[in-house]
Symmetry: D2
Subunit: 354 residues, 4 copies
């Protein structure tokens, strides 16, 4: 199979850099256009991007000239098959629609369209059937479609919740997060604010977590998504960790399950990407650690190349009925952002949407 040609919108930011790294040697996709804000346009990628993730700028992209992230400039550059978007939300609102309208599919990490009725928020292991919802977007007069990613915090949480929903049903979820610095972007948290400290507030984060989970874990009835009916509440905090979100989760199940059953359900959890053997799919979407003191973000964030969620301390909770509590770690800019989008694109190819 010839590789699909793809443009990356928002190529210079931190999530953009993760995309660049994941696409360096991708077997299905050829990253042929790097697009970003006007201030980066015209520069070589290595000069435009302040590279801030591990390793160096991949050699093949160093000298590539960045173009402005709009339809006109991207089209001038190459006839791409689809685009990845890591644009800021307000820009994404306009630019992503422009591409979809023009017949170029958009696989997005931006939050702009997430809560639109006809746009799926996709985690390939969780709700691959929601992909079909994109067909509704033709009603907008668009020749193609937008698929979105969940917020990073939601993403890794929902992965861990999915086998519980499937096996035991979920009634309530309470989650406290300890989120890494990279979630706020390179300049998001100044060092003086976080050294020897915790920031107990992340703007709009709790709302996103509470909102997105119900949509993603809802049911697609062929024409719309019926949100899941459980209740969810979050308290979100920033800690002095470079990458990897940690979350303490309390769940009220519909039917009783002891920790052993929960462990089994999580260990055995596989999704459509594993069935299809997609290139970016981790062998295990959830890795369960049995040690008393795992997961830890520095040790576990790169499990499954950053695509697995690591869960530990699975134990009973006596406050909630059929209560279970556990701790999870997931890589917020890989599984929680660029990696999930790449997996979305792989799924879309194999399901005939790209």
């Amino acid at each position: 199979m010839d590789k699909l040609r793809v443009a990356l919108l928002g190529a210079t930011g931190m999530v953009g850099q993760r995309f660049v790294k994941l696409l360096e040697n991708h077997e299905m996709f050829e990253l042929s256009v790097l697009a970003a804000s006007p201030s980066s346009a015209g520069k070589k990628y290595q000069d435009a991007a302040h590279w801030c993730i591990e390793g160096e700028v991949p050699e093949k992209f160093r000298e590539m000239t960045v173009v402005k992230a709009d339809l006109e400039n991207v089209k001038k550059e190459d006839n791409v098959d689809f685009v990845f978007s890591a644009l800021p939300s307000d820009v994404a609102r306009i630019v992503e629609a422009e591409f979809a309208k023009a017949g170029i599919p958009v696989i997005s990490d931006a939050s702009a369209y997430r809560m639109e009725e006809d746009v799926p928020i996709l985690i390939p292991e969780v709700n691959p059937d929601h992909l079909e919802l994109v067909k509704k977007q033709s009603n907008r007069g668009w020749r193609s479609f937008i698929v979105t990613n969940p917020n990073c915090t939601s993403n890794v949480l929902i992965l861990a919740l999915k086998p519980l929903q499937e096996n035991f049903g979920i009634k309530r979820v309470i989650v406290s997060t300890m989120q890494s610095l990279s979630g706020a972007g390179w300049f998001g948290v100044t060092s003086m604010a976080i050294l020897d400290n915790i920031l107990p507030y992340i703007k709009n984060e709790e709302e996103k977590v509470e909102r997105e989970a119900l949509k993603i874990m809802g049911e697609f009835d062929g024409s719309k998504i019926i949100p899941a009916e459980f209740k969810i509440s979050a308290s979100c905090h920033r800690v002095n960790v470079l990458e990897g979100h940690t979350e303490a989760v309390f769940v009220e199940l519909k039917s009783k399950a002891d920790p052993k059953q929960v462990i089994e359900a999580m260990k055995n959890f596989r999704g459509r990407p594993q069935e299809l053997n997609l290139p970016t799919a981790p062998e295990n979407p959830i890795i369960v650690r049995m040690e008393a003191d795992r997961p830890q973000p520095r040790l576990d964030r790169y499990a499954g190349n950053g695509m697995s969620v690591v869960v530990g301390r699975i134990r009973s909770d006596t406050v909630l009925d059929n209560g279970i509590k556990f701790v999870l770690v997931g890589h917020n800019t890989i599984r929680g952002a660029a990696g999930n989008a790449v997996l979305n694109a792989e799924l879309a190819v194999r399901e005939g949407y790209l």
Copy 2:
């Protein structure tokens, strides 16, 4: 009034150092004996203690010779009116009883006797009436008594819960903690373990939190404590913060209350120490911050000289019935340890027990 003379058992550890600092110029107590393990005995205090809290060893204690922390050696040194104990739990089990039996009251920060039926765990603002329980200890054949402190995590949590219990009633509590390094002691967490990391496990901590709250917030019926009846569940984590525990708390109230009412209840909360105007009592046991991003441990841990709990982000929770969620910060080695014990002693004096 002449100052009461007091010995400090476990004077060299980190909590011991907090006691030393709090007692340097205390208006009611004269710290006249510094006692510690055999390996420290015979040394000058400044050589025996690896001083690790802010500032320097107070001058008046620098040259004081440390004695072995047992009844015989302390008595040889001075005829003290009572003792503070910051001993390790296993040593405390034996030594504290020795003092109580010999007629010397023990105000302890150790966990050894906390859960004994006839021993109160005291937070002066929360359950000052439990102090009377010590009279039951004469049944052990003891001529005096032991009063204990809660675990540091429980202490600051319970202070914040008390006005909720009083005003609205409590049915369920779920708490996720982000605990500071000092809670583990000077050598408790090696630097390589915690840099760019979180440890999602603190041995026995969740059990302590879940157990102690019900006893402390229970009712003393004149002869025994009837535990409070709400349910409580904790997930405890260590973060890279020097001092000050942060806790994300979700509470189900018995009667509905909106955030404003909760804020008022917390702001107006005063206890017996404030009535009695005890020297170590903070003006406000709870300080409510209205900024979106407070409390923060580095900025708020020394509020009220480390004796106030700072609460912020008070908001409704939709998962629990009559749900309220908030974040708190409290100083774990002051309010959560030495400071609470000193306040216990002050209360005991004014109530006629010392």
Copy 3:
């Protein structure tokens, strides 16, 4: 004595906040005008300043309205006796001259005028006689004058070097710095850049250190400063420390001195501020620690209320002739900035310049 009335230009930044704190209850100065950039003008101080140093905004300044930092607006507010300036260098260049021209003395922490021939860079313990140089500024047509502070890194270094220069003479100095985050300002270093890391470069810093030392330690011959003749070279690095610069210093002395003699010289060092008993003068400009592992920035930065430099590990160096090496810690935003300026003002008052 009536207090002198003073305006603070650049009141909202981190050094500005240090000024505010130092002037809260100052016995000689009444801070009556808070001035800052146009974007802050018109706001209450507590809203304009993102308070980022320990404690809270002092109560008396919370509601004070910030005015624009120029002559016109400050004069409208109050008839101040002099101004402190913590302005950015480019703004300082224009605004400070405006005040000096109009007859209002400027005690500045900005770098704008430091290297001008007729402007002293003053450390009151080191070169108080240089203050007289300000008289030359009348040649500019100014009715008053500007006095400047050294760069923070230079300041604490020069304090430690002064007794060596006085007692043994200095031929060469090599210094490697480990500088704190606050030196770069609140937004100067993003957290992702410095966690688990060191930044081996601080723009223009080495040049400043190398240049300012020779001027400050030079001789004032009544009409101009003849720079000191030793050689100095710096390597400047940023480390993950909140406040307090640490410097490893190697010195070639003119005449041989063993470590004991150096220790004595440093311990006995006193300057004009100590003679005059100025309110902000520390008892000891230099505190020598004899422990093997001191000074440490977290433990020693607040020595002498942040106005003392703490020196340790004084030992022979065999590479340089008559070589001595040592490590120092100094508080970069107190002694290295606001505190030194306040001390400059106190000196200027007592020497009849204010």
Copy 4:
């Protein structure tokens, strides 16, 4: 070629773990015995070693039983061709001699024998000819020999100095280090000591740096090593960085060289391991970065798989005659310890000593 069989003495510590990782799939060596202290003996490796470097315990060693690190127990296990030693110095003193005497070569990272007259401290790129010195050890009645590693700080420093010595000659070296936590071992630095702090003292470190450089950079005249004649002085500090030592270096050259020439000399530097194309040899022993703000430990420590030293900020120094200053970063437990030892063994094989 059949692989040589090798035992690892001190397999459970942090340097031991680095050896295990480097030897997991080594083309020349088969790690067949894991040996450690009596308290570890008899346990499975994964239980005995508290794994603390990135990744997991390599699968092939997880279940391997650890034996006591002495000749008798190692021999019982396998007939090894040589041993690697990461033993503590006092144990190494006795055990390494035991092996050498019995005819089993020892490639050691321990400091015990470094300064013995007949024992080379080897950096394969720097002094491969010193290997011949081991022949002298037969005078001890040993049937085989010990080869040692430099101290980690010396190692990466000397690599950077070697091309300067070769091309321009060296007269004096002054170095200030900012050393990582791993250099002190897993339990070496407690978190409360180093958070928001620097420790300005590392026991014996400065002495080691000053002593070892002259021996390693000395000349082997066929029977003994004539130490290099330059002068060297160090100031050693611990910073809150996980891995990777950073060093600020000032060098007085014998003959004048501008930064460009120094850059060229470093870039072009190759040694015997590169000639021989040894498996663990990095392509470039020294990588020169031209960016103003490199090298940085978090970004550069894994350059050349942790075997290259990264040098930056090469500039003139005006204090020393023909002065050059620069900053370097090197991985202290790979190039500075296990990796150098493995490279030593590879060299010894190819030169006919193993």
